[in-house]
Subunit: 201 residues, 2 copies
Amino acid sequence: MTTKITDEKISRLEELFASLPGLGPRSASRIVAELLTTRRPQAQRLCRDLSETLEAVHHCPRCHALTTRPMCVVCADQTRDKTVLCIVETPADLQAIESSVAYKGGYFVLMGRVNPLQAVGPEELGVNTLLERLDKEPIEEVVIATSYTPEGETTAHLLAGVIKKHKPQLKVTRLARGLPSGVEIEYTDAATIASAVAGRR
Amino acid sequence: MTTKITDEKISRLEELFASLPGLGPRSASRIVAELLTTRRPQAQRLCRDLSETLEAVHHCPRCHALTTRPMCVVCADQTRDKTVLCIVETPADLQAIESSVAYKGGYFVLMGRVNPLQAVGPEELGVNTLLERLDKEPIEEVVIATSYTPEGETTAHLLAGVIKKHKPQLKVTRLARGLPSGVEIEYTDAATIASAVAGRR
């Protein structure tokens, strides 16, 4: 019989890290060992920054993205087109759309997608904040920019329903589906080709 | 020109996580987003446990492994054979050797290996603690159980030199090299076969 040779405090810390997305027991042990030895200053900074940010963070009252300022950077920018609103799943998606320089309107960040198993429904994604904003601002079009994955599609479908019911005169669109740039048709999946054919112009 | 849409505090936290071993910018953003929303209790526990452990952790005065107790679990065990000492690189290696139930002696944990580029030499690996222990305890044999990798071999070579110089009458051994269990000879690399042939008995 072998007993596990452990130190309770260190192994509790390893378990905490191992439960984070993308990490397993081995990478967690390595991270903990480095944080406790060669990376002590970084570990102290991590404690301090994490607890400060946990205190300060909240959803932006306008776009629902996480921020530690009263209003997030995009919402505070007065130069954006106020008649279009783009709904994205995450700040990373927002960043990707910004990088395309093809969109100049406002954003609403869901900070996730509908997930019945984890009890994430439209309320958890801030739909109430979204509807209030549709009432208060001169928005004419809502672009639902969720991914074309099953969860993204479900999210888009539910959101479109809620928005249309709340304000039927609004134009609700989704990002075009089709062939990505720089990819050969030969290697493109059938679903993408089907959308590209249907959306031809 | 696209500017990065960021919140300084959140992105500082993301950078901290991204710099940990095994994590990149994407997994770091995901971890930070979850810690600040759905995993807040876990984040608070992480802050608390990490700062507590940073305070309490030190090298075991006997075997150099990290511990938060006065002496680590293995060293506190009075039933072990005190005449053999096994030198390992990490607590994970110690755990692997324990699982084999083939060794009942003491351990010395280097908490790393010699790495000239990161200025990790014998001193950083606690060689002084090791030599003191060789003087104080009735050790007759030292088993150097570093990996058969270039760094592991260098570490073993340096340690063997230091130990032999300090106490020439000590027996210094290394773990046997050879074929691993359950592996076909056909698929074994040449270096392993060469060691298995040389060490045949």
